[in-house]
């Protein structure tokens, strides 16, 4: 049952991904993107990762995709301009993609993926002990992975500084009095007699 559901959902995911790329209207692309996120979260649910599924919906659909929609609506993208170089680049790109896909096909053909983690960090062990999904993710994130967690905090801080640096309009030419400067002025330095 599970495996049939997986195949159905994953093929829908691939199809909607393709429509993200190929749909001519950017708003449609974003809507298909949201559909893709929903499908992926169902895939997560099928593999018993409720927390990840819900996070995906909240973060990606709730925040990222809505932002995308806003940007797409505001930018007023010209569809003709986007399609302009398509025919010129298509043959070369098609050849490259075909070669790449064939290579990956040959590589993936005879491979067995490991389904259990060989390291000591194994989340299914924690789940078997009776912890809930969120609990066990938290246990990993704040113990074994805490340094990575810290670095991602730093990353967010840098992103915030960057947003302020690049967007804040610091008007340096504004003509206002600086009281400290005015009080510390020396009369002899300001007035010149020639």
């Amino acid at each position: 049952m599970n495996i049939i559901a997986f195949y159905i959902i994953s093929s829908i995911t691939v199809l909607s991904c393709l429509s993200v790329v190929f749909s001519s209207n950017p708003v449609h692309s974003v809507l298909f993107l949201i559909f893709t996120f929903f499908n992926v979260s169902i895939l997560f649910l099928l593999s018993n990762a409720e927390f990840l599924a819900m996070t995906l919906i909240i973060v990606y659909v709730g925040a990222v995709a809505v932002l995308f929609l806003f940007v797409v609506m505001m930018l007023n993208i010209n569809e003709v301009l986007i399609k302009e170089g398509f025919l010129k680049y298509f043959p070369f790109g098609f050849i490259l993609i075909t070669i790449f896909l064939l290579e990956l096909f040959f590589v993936f053909k005879d491979i067995t993926l490991k389904n259990t983690s060989s390291s000591k960090m194994n989340i299914s062990e924690l789940l078997n002990k009776g912890n809930t999904n969120t609990e066990s993710i938290g246990m990993f994130l704040y113990t074994d992975f805490f340094i990575v967690f810290q670095i991602s905090g730093f990353l967010l801080l840098v992103a915030m500084i960057g947003a302020i640096v690049l967007a804040k309009n610091e008007n340096l030419n504004i003509k206002s009095q600086k009281i400290i400067y005015q009080k510390s002025l020396d009369k002899k330095r300001v007035i010149k007699l020639k």
Binding site: E103, L104, F106, V107, F108, I111, L113, K114, T116, S117, S118, S119, D144, F145, F146, I147, V148, I151, S152, F154, L155, L157, V158, A159, I161, G162, I164, V165, L166, E170, L172
Partner: protein
């Protein structure tokens, strides 16, 4: 205690950030002095533990003498660049207290990069470093060139991130873990190497090549170098390259040491194309910063050549080459930073003409640095090239050595064209005379360093070979 320098730098950066936002009296120059102080102190923390070996934070990071050496190099370079920021007259857009703070953040990212021992921590630290660099590149946002460079760098960087993650996911699918140690163990257990692993490695190599701008993944380099503020270009051409090379060396030598032949072939292609593109692309450039970008690509090709055999000698040669490359680059960029005409920064090759008549001493220093870049015998650049060529010939890669020599002859043409411009061309419009003494002394220091290295090559050889020893102790 071993990750102390990173903790020290990040905590003091946070304090600096608070200072910058709450204190009105502190301007960007004070911030730069503070950051110089922080960088200076962090070096002592590294020097204290330089011969230690320890895996820390659940094996997410590793501290050995190789990573300590790389960190030290990165810190010295960053210190010099912050010092440049203090002494050189900057464009108004750079005069914000966030600038030195962002450099410190990038520094933390790069220091974590060279000591990463796990694909997850490696990914996070690469992201920390590159996000900071995107911001720095587009720092003068009123300048359309800078914004364009920022957007280009950001898009290419995101692409590189995606490719890196895809490669990591392939490796994870096969090995079941992302730590370098388990990958190494997995590889030593295999009788025949699965192609799957090599495909994953190729993706990661492509991503790192985008970071070190090795051809054919170099397309962003000239545009970003030209568009970014010159001080940021100085930073881009030195520190991230050191860090990315540190990552590349650790990655190829430690977890993937079993498939040296496979990645050696990839590196041969990368280095040949880099040397060709770097030498031929620079011939028609008229902007000094663009020319330096191609020169960087050429030097990267040379450095990659040292990694092909994957032996201890090769890594030693690369370390030496990196030291010399960094000193040459910093010297030339210090001069470009000081190239003003009527108080406006210029960077075209024509502006150099007749420099010898107005400032003979500076012209001589510049000529020494350029000769060193070209690899003319008594200078440092020659020693670097000699060691790497020697290594390549020892490994019976004669065709590679021939291509390297031919391309460096072509590259010598454009360096010597600059020297001809400086010494023999008639000046049309003279540059401002460099007024600040610190720049003059520093330029003199870089030039003398490039000359005196020939008398003490053994010192650098001993230093670098003692450092690389720790990489091979693991296998």
């Amino acid at each position: 205690m071993y990750i102390l320098p990173e903790i020290f730098i990040s905590l003091s950066t946070l304090i600096l950030l608070l200072l910058a936002s709450f204190s009105k009296k502190i301007n960007q120059k004070d911030m730069a002095y503070f950051s110089l102080f922080i960088i200076f102190f962090a070096q002592f923390f590294i020097l204290k533990d330089i011969f230690y070996y320890e895996e820390i934070f659940n094996g997410f990071f590793i501290v050995d003498s190789f990573s300590s050496f790389m960190k030290l190099l990165i810190l010295i370079c960053a210190g010099l660049i912050v010092y440049f920021y203090i002494i050189v007259k900057n464009p108004v857009s750079l005069n914000r207290p966030e600038f030195p703070i962002l450099i410190l953040f990038a520094l933390v990212g790069m220091m974590l990069m060279v000591s990463a021992n796990n694909f997850l921590s490696l990914f996070m630290s690469i992201e920390l470093q590159s996000l900071t660099l995107y911001i720095l590149v587009s720092f003068s946002r009123k300048d359309s060139f800078s914004s364009e460079a920022g957007v280009k760098y950001f898009i290419i960087g995101s692409l590189s991130t995606c490719i890196f993650l895809f490669g990591t996911s392939l490796i994870y699918g096969l090995v079941g873990s992302v730590s370098f140690e388990s990958i190494s163990i997995f590889m030593s257990e295999q009788l025949t190497m699965p192609t799957f692993l090599i495909v994953g490695l190729i993706f990661i190599l492509v991503s790192i090549s985008l970071k070190i701008s090795a051809a054919p993944f170099h397309m962003w380099t000239p545009d970003v170098y030209q568009g970014a503020p010159t001080l940021v270009t100085t930073l881009l051409s030195t520190i991230p390259k050191i860090a990315a090379f540190g990552v590349l060396i650790r990655l190829l030598v430690y977890p993937f040491s079993e498939i040296t032949i496979d990645w050696g072939k990839i590196l041969i292609i990368l280095s040949i194309t880099s040397m060709l593109v770097g030498s031929l692309g620079a011939l028609l450039q008229s902007d000094l910063k663009r020319l330096m970008a191609y020169s960087t690509i050429n030097h990267i090709g040379f450095m990659l050549m040292g990694l092909i055999p994957g032996t201890e000698d090769g890594i030693t040669a690369i370390c030496i080459y990196i030291i010399f490359y960094v000193t040459m680059n910093l010297g030339i960029f210090l001069f470009i930073l000081n190239m003003n005409r009527d108080q406006i920064n210029v960077s075209s090759i024509k502006d150099l003409s007749g420099l010898y008549k107005s400032q003979p001493l500076m012209a001589t220093f510049m000529a020494i640095l350029l000769f060193s870049m070209a690899g003319i015998p008594p200078m440092a650049g020659f020693i670097g090239k000699l060691i790497i060529l020697n290594l390549v010939i020892d490994n019976n890669l004669f065709y590679l050595a021939i291509i390297a020599v031919l391309t460096s002859v072509i590259a010598a043409f454009y360096y010597i064209r600059l020297i001809k411009c400086i010494f023999f061309d008639q000046p049309q419009d003279e540059l401002d005379i460099i007024s600040n003494n610190q720049s003059k002394y520093l330029l003199g220091f870089f030039a003398t360093f490039n000359v005196i290295v020939i008398f003490v090559p053994q010192f650098f050889l001993d230093l670098c070979s003692s450092v690389t020893l720790s990489l091979f102790a693991l296998n």
